[in-house]
């Protein structure tokens, strides 16, 4: 199988790592903690509707950090990214079309 051959070639190129990537993980942890502080702090500031926007934007950024640095979603194969995206896309279908009903009730 050609996929197997190329996989073998690719893994041969990867240099075996001998130590833990402590530094990069520490950076991600700091970023996550900073974002947590930011979201918790900002929600005590009255911003009106923007509180919701800020909170969920920060949540999305945190989730993206976990996905990229811990789950290596960008490093993997295309099929993995499609699988991950499909879940979100289909959830989007559920929300979008249901809310066409919910938001327009009584009109």
């Amino acid at each position: 199988m050609s996929a197997t051959a190329s996989l073998g070639a690719r893994s041969a190129k990867v240099k075996p790592m001998r130590s833990l990537p402590l530094r990069s993980h520490l950076m991600v942890w700091l970023a996550l903690m900073a974002l947590l502080a930011l979201t918790a702090g900002s929600s005590f500031v009255p911003l009106g509707t923007f509180n919701v926007v800020v909170n969920f934007t920060i949540a999305a950024i945190k989730a993206a950090l976990v996905l990229v640095f811990f789950m290596h979603v960008a490093r993997g194969e295309a099929a993995v990214r499609i699988a991950a995206a499909a879940g979100l896309l289909w959830l989007g279908f559920l929300f979008a079309l249901s809310f066409v009903d919910i938001l327009a009730r009584g009109h």
């Binding site: 199988m1 289909w90 559920l94 249901s98 066409v100 009903d101 327009a104 009730r105």
Partner: protein, 547 residues
């Protein structure tokens, strides 16, 4: 797609999956996809006849306008049982878990599915969940209908709702694991040279079905969980007296249950796409279009659930959006019907039993699809929804479509699966009988719906009598039609002639291994260097010589 000539006479000593350890214990702990497929087939056949028995009682009751055979409570429990058993314990697993399980690894040149142990887990989840629900259905019964609409199911039904949905919840995990297994298998275990656009359309169909299983089933699972919690607690999001919204349940339920229709019918389309080219000796018309159509159905099929809710009180705008999307999903289905028909052109057609079943499927699916166009039309749906028109429509798709195609597939691959031939004439006769019996049973129901007879009625106004009697009479023929294969296929297991490796001269990797296939499927790794459906150009056949 043919392997090197040296391989063709397969080594006679390779033990088939039906040889070796045949003890019950070996079967119940097997990880061989072929044996698991057989166990699934036995289980779903049992559930088919349980669901069928409920259907028979329903039709007998409806032979007269008065509710005289069973009480209203019993009738409601019967159609609930019929729906729950047929949808979740027969139709959803039918083709994927049996033929799909057996054939997908063979068709793509793999030894097994990606996760054999998970496959077995899936079987036990299915059996466990189904028996659980069945126990609830028999011990007291459930009267909510298979749709479990709130707030009836949460507040007003006094029956075993919790137990029933718990079983369905468990069976849902079986669906998810089966779908997951197929997706990974198709992505990762294809033989060298078996590119995506060389996959048999049956594999495409099973792949698309798996995508739906994986994306839709969790929504059903959580929705049923919320329903159950709400029924126990009496607080939740569906109950209007507590500020909830019963339409949320309908949205979530149909987000699963509409795509579930495609779980049932896509594999059926896959089977037709295998059989028609084979018996027409003609490559399938527009292979790529057919593959794209499968994917289009799987995706757009998720965007149309609201057409079940045109009179539910959902907003008019939502109705408009769901209606236009419903028309869009009809396009790829129409393409498939046209392409199957075009496949016959310049073919060399023989009418063996699988072909008659497959052509019957195309006809019945087309009639069902056409009635779907009425139901997608907003104004027409207002009149027709919740009447027998809908009942006829989805039985044309699910019974006329899926069950007929399932039987087509069983007859097509029976020699491969069992290593035995069945009596051809009997099979052809049964195929015709089922086609006629089916139309006799369900066509009158279209007319009943047009006349305005609501569904789920235990007794009805006298003006509906004639058509109901016709339908019940047709059901007798249909029931006989369904019992026949049980008899002659059973007979063939004992007395049938030994099947050759490729009785239909079909293309496809599954026909390059002995019948029945060896435990390891392939003696050596197959390599694929041919396009699918490379049926011999008719120029080479004997008819040409005769011209």
């Amino acid at each position: 797609m043919t392997p090197p000539a040296a391989l063709l006479p397969a080594p006679a000593h390779a033990a088939s999956y039906l040889e070796g350890d045949m003890s019950i214990r070996a079967w119940l702990t097997t990880r061989d996809h072929k044996r698991i497929a057989i166990m699934f087939a036995i289980a779903i056949t049992a559930f088919f006849f349980i669901g069928g028995a409920a259907a028979t009682l329903i039709r007998i009751e409806l032979a007269t306008p008065a509710g005289d055979l069973v009480s209203a409570e019993t009738y409601n429990k019967l159609f609930t049982m019929h729906g729950v058993v047929m949808v979740w314990f027969f139709l959803i697993p039918s083709i994927p878990a049996t033929l799909g399980n057996f054939l997908v690894p063979l068709m793509i040149g793999a030894k097994d599915l990606a996760f054999p142990r998970l496959n077995l887990t899936s079987f036990y989840l299915y059996v466990g969940g189904a028996l659980f629900t069945l126990a609830a259905l028999f011990a007291g019964g459930v009267d909510t209908g298979w749709t479990f609409y709130t707030p009836f199911s949460t507040m007003f039904s006094n029956t075993n709702v919790i137990a029933a949905i718990a079983g369905v919840f468990i069976v849902g995990f079986s669906s998810i694991l089966t779908g997951l297994n197929f997706i990974v298998t198709v992505h990762k275990l294809r033989a060298p040279g078996m590119t995506f656009f060389r996959l048999p359309l049956f594999v495409w169909a099973i792949y698309a079905t798996s995508v739906i299983l994986v994306l839709a089933t969790p929504v059903l699972g959580m929705t049923l969980a919320l329903l159950g919690i709400e029924r126990i607690w009496h607080i939740g999001i569906f109950d209007p007296s507590l500020g909830g919204d019963p339409l949320l349940f309908q949205h979530l339920f149909w987000f699963y249950s509409h795509p579930a229709v495609y779980i049932m019918v896509l594999p059926a389309m896959g089977i037709a796409s295998e059989i028609i080219p084979c018996f027409a000796r003609s490559p399938v018309f527009g292979y790529r279009t057919m593959a794209y159509a499968i994917i289009a159905i799987a995706v757009i099929g998720f965007l149309v659930w609201g057409h079940h809710m045109f009179v539910s009180g959902q907003s008019v705008y939502a109705g408009l959006v769901f209606s236009i999307l419903s028309y869009l999903v009809a396009i790829p289905s129409a393409i498939k019907v046209f392409n199957w028909t075009a496949t016959l052109y310049k073919g060399s057609i023989s009418f063996d039993a699988p072909m008659i079943y497959a052509l019957g499927f195309v006809g019945l699916f087309m009639l069902g699809g056409m009635s779907g166009l009425f139901l997608a039309a907003l104004a027409l749906d207002v009149q027709l929804t919740d009447t027998y028109f809908v009942v006829a429509h989805f039985h044309y798709i699910m019974v006329g479509g899926s069950v007929t195609a399932y039987l087509a597939g069983i007859h097509f691959w029976w020699p491969k699966i069992t290593g035995r031939m069945y009596p051809a004439r009997w099979a052809q006769f049964a195929a015709v009988l089922i086609f006629l019996g089916f139309n006799f049973t369900f066509f009158p129901q279209y007319l009943l719906g047009i006349e305005g007879m609501p569904r789920r009625y235990h007794e009805y106004a006298p003006q509906f009598t004639t058509l109901n009697v016709l339908s019940s009479a047709g059901a007798v023929i249909l029931a006989m039609g369904y019992l026949l294969p049980l008899v002659y296929l059973g007979w063939s297991l004992v007395r049938g002639a030994r099947a050759p490796q490729n009785p239909w001269r079909a293309t496809g990797l599954e026909w390059t291994v002995p019948s029945p296939p060896p435990t390891e499927n392939f003696a050596t790794q197959p390599h694929v260097d041919e396009e699918p459906y490379a049926y011999p150009p008719v120029a080479a056949s004997r008819q040409e010589a005769a011209t």
